[in-house]
C-alpha cells in the first residue's frame, strides 16, 4: 500500500509485477488499474490521469 501525495512516476526496488494494483484517486474516490512496468528489478508505477493524491493498493498475485 502506497500513499502518493502528488501525481508523479514512482520507481520502486521491488517486482511490482508480482502484484495486482489498484489506484484510488482520493479526491473523487475513483478507481483505476495503473500502468506498471518492471525492468531489471526496478518497477515504475506510471503517472495516473487524475489530479489529486492517490492510494496504491497492491495485492500479491
Amino acid at each position: 500500500m502506497i500513499y502518493q501525495p502528488d501525481n508523479v512516476h514512482l520507481r520502486l526496488v521491488l517486482d511490482a509485477g508480482a502484484y495486482d494494483w489498484d489506484v484510488i484517486e482520493l479526491e473523487g474516490k475513483r478507481i483505476l488499474k495503473p500502468d506498471v512496468r518492471v525492468e531489471n528489478g526496478i518497477s515504475t508505477l506510471k503517472r495516473h490521469p487524475f489530479q489529486s493524491d492517490s492510494l496504491w493498493i497492491g495485492i500479491r498475485k
Binding site: 500500500m1 500513499y3 501525495p5 520507481r11 526496488v13 484510488i24 482520493l26 474516490k29 515504475t44 493524491d53
Partner: protein, 358 residues
C-alpha cells in the same frame, strides 16, 4: 476497556484490534451545552468516530469566550483560577457529558494537564499565574480519576506540551505515577507540541507510557512531520498522529489560505503509512474550541462556529466508505503487520537513495 497489544503496536478494545479514530473538542467541558453536546455526539458517531479528545480543565490560554462558560475552578482576585477551589458544577456537567459520550459508543481521551497549567512550558501568552502549584498535581489527578475513572478513559497526561525544564517533567511524572498507582490497567499517553519530535527519554523508557501521540501540527512548511515524526517513534509502542493540521485553520504565514480536506487527507495517509497506524485524530478549527459565530476568540482570529466546523468535508476523509477508509487500511496493515513492519524502514531508505525519475 482499551488495552495495548505491544507486539503488534495496536490498541485493543474488548481484546479486538481497535482503530482509534478521534475528534478534537478540547474545550467541550467548558463550553458545550447538553443539547449541543448531544447534537455533536450523534453526528460524529454517525460518521464512525469512536474517540473524543477533551482537555479536563479546558484550555484557558487559547479559547473562545462566552458568557455561559463553566470553569473548573473558582477565580482569584487576580482573575486567575484558584486551583484549591474546585467548581463542583463544572465537574458535574463534565461527568454527564462523559457519560453521554460513552453511551454513544465513544472512548473518552481525557487530557489531564494542558501546557498552560504546567511549569516551564511554551504556553502563549506565558503567564505563571495559570500554573498549577506542584503540590496540587496529585490531588487534582485524584479528582479527575474520581470524576471520570468509571468511564474507563484514556489518560492523556499532557496537553500540547513541550518540556522546558526538569520541573515540567516532574509535573507530568507525578500525574503518571498517580494514575498508574491508583487505576489498575489504566491506559496512558501524552499529547505533545508540534515542534517536539520526540518525548524525553525518561518517558520513552518508562513503563508508565502506553502509547505515543505526536503532533504533526499546523505549520504549513513542516507538514512532512506527519511521517517524519512517525518514523522517529517507530519501535516499542503504538503510534498515533494526535494533532494534524486543523481543517479550516488559516496558514500561519503571510501567504493566505487555510487548511482544507486535501491537507487533512495528506496528513492522515502520510501518518498511517509511516507507522502511525494505531489511529488518527481529526480536528476542525472552531470545533476544538467549541466556538459560536457571535463570540470572541481570545487570540483574535476569526473562527467558524462549531456547527459549521462539525460539518467540514475533511472529517469524512478518514471514514470514506469507497474502499479507502483509514479503518479498512488499519485492517489491512494489521493483517499483514509482520511484512509491513520489516519492509517499511528499508523501503524508505531505498527510496531516498534512488535518483529522481524523469
Amino acid at each position: 476497556m482499551i488495552t495495548i497489544d505491544m507486539e503488534r503496536h495496536l490498541l485493543l478494545k474488548d481484546r479486538q484490534p481497535f482503530f482509534y479514530l478521534a475528534d478534537t473538542v478540547w474545550n467541550a467541558f467548558v463550553r458545550a451545552t447538553p443539547k449541543e453536546w448531544e447534537t455533536y455526539l450523534t453526528y460524529r458517531r454517525s460518521q464512525g468516530y469512536n474517540v473524543v479528545r477533551i482537555s479536563a480543565f479546558g484550555i484557558y490560554n487559547d479559547r473562545s469566550i462566552g458568557e455561559d462558560d463553566l470553569h473548573p475552578f473558582e477565580f482569584t482576585t487576580k482573575g486567575k483560577y484558584d486551583f484549591a477551589k474546585v467548581n463542583e458544577a463544572y465537574f458535574d456537567r463534565a461527568a454527564e457529558m462523559a457519560e453521554a459520550a460513552v453511551h454513544h459508543g465513544f472512548i473518552l481521551d481525557l487530557t489531564l494537564f494542558w501546557l498552560c497549567y504546567v511549569k516551564d512550558t511554551q504556553s502563549w501568552p506565558p503567564d505563571p499565574d495559570w500554573v498549577i502549584p506542584f503540590e496540587r498535581i496529585e490531588p487534582l489527578t485524584h479528582l479527575l480519576i474520581d470524576r471520570f475513572g468509571r468511564f474507563d478513559p484514556i489518560y492523556c497526561i499532557s496537553g500540547d506540551t513541550n518540556f522546558g525544564s526538569e520541573d515540567t517533567i516532574r509535573y507530568y511524572m507525578k500525574a503518571f505515577k498517580t494514575v498508574k498507582g491508583r487505576v489498575t490497567n489504566a491506559v496512558t499517553t501524552m499529547h505533545i507540541a508540534g515542534n517536539v519530535p520526540m518525548l524525553p527519554e525518561v518517558f520513552m523508557k518508562s513503563e508508565l507510557l502506553d502509547f505515543v501521540l505526536y503532533q504533526s501540527g499546523h505549520d504549513r512548511d513542516n507538514q512532512q512531520h506527519a511521517y517524519t515524526y512517525a518514523l522517529g517513534f517507530l519501535g516499542e509502542r503504538p503510534i498515533i498522529n494526535g494533532e494534524p493540521c486543523y481543517e479550516g485553520m488559516h496558514f500561519d504565514d503571510e501567504r493566505g489560505g487555510h487548511y482544507a480536506a486535501p491537507h487533512v487527507r495528506r496528513a492522515m495517509w502520510s501518518s498511517l503509512l509511516a507507522g502511525a497506524k494505531a489511529g488518527f485524530t481529526y480536528g476542525a478549527h472552531g470545533m476544538w474550541s467549541w466556538h459560536r459565530e457571535d463570540e470572541r476568540f481570545l487570540n483574535g482570529e476569526s473562527l467558524p462556529g462549531w456547527e459549521t466546523a462539525m460539518r467540514f468535508e475533511g472529517a469524512w476523509e478518514a471514514v470514506s466508505p469507497n474502499g479507502c477508509s483509514s479503518v479498512i487500511t488499519f485492517t489491512i496493515l494489521n493483517r499483514h503487520y509482520h511484512s509491513f513492519k520489516m519492509r517499511h524502514p528499508t523501503f524508505v531508505r531505498q527510496l531516498q537513495r534512488m535518483p529522481v525519475s524523469s
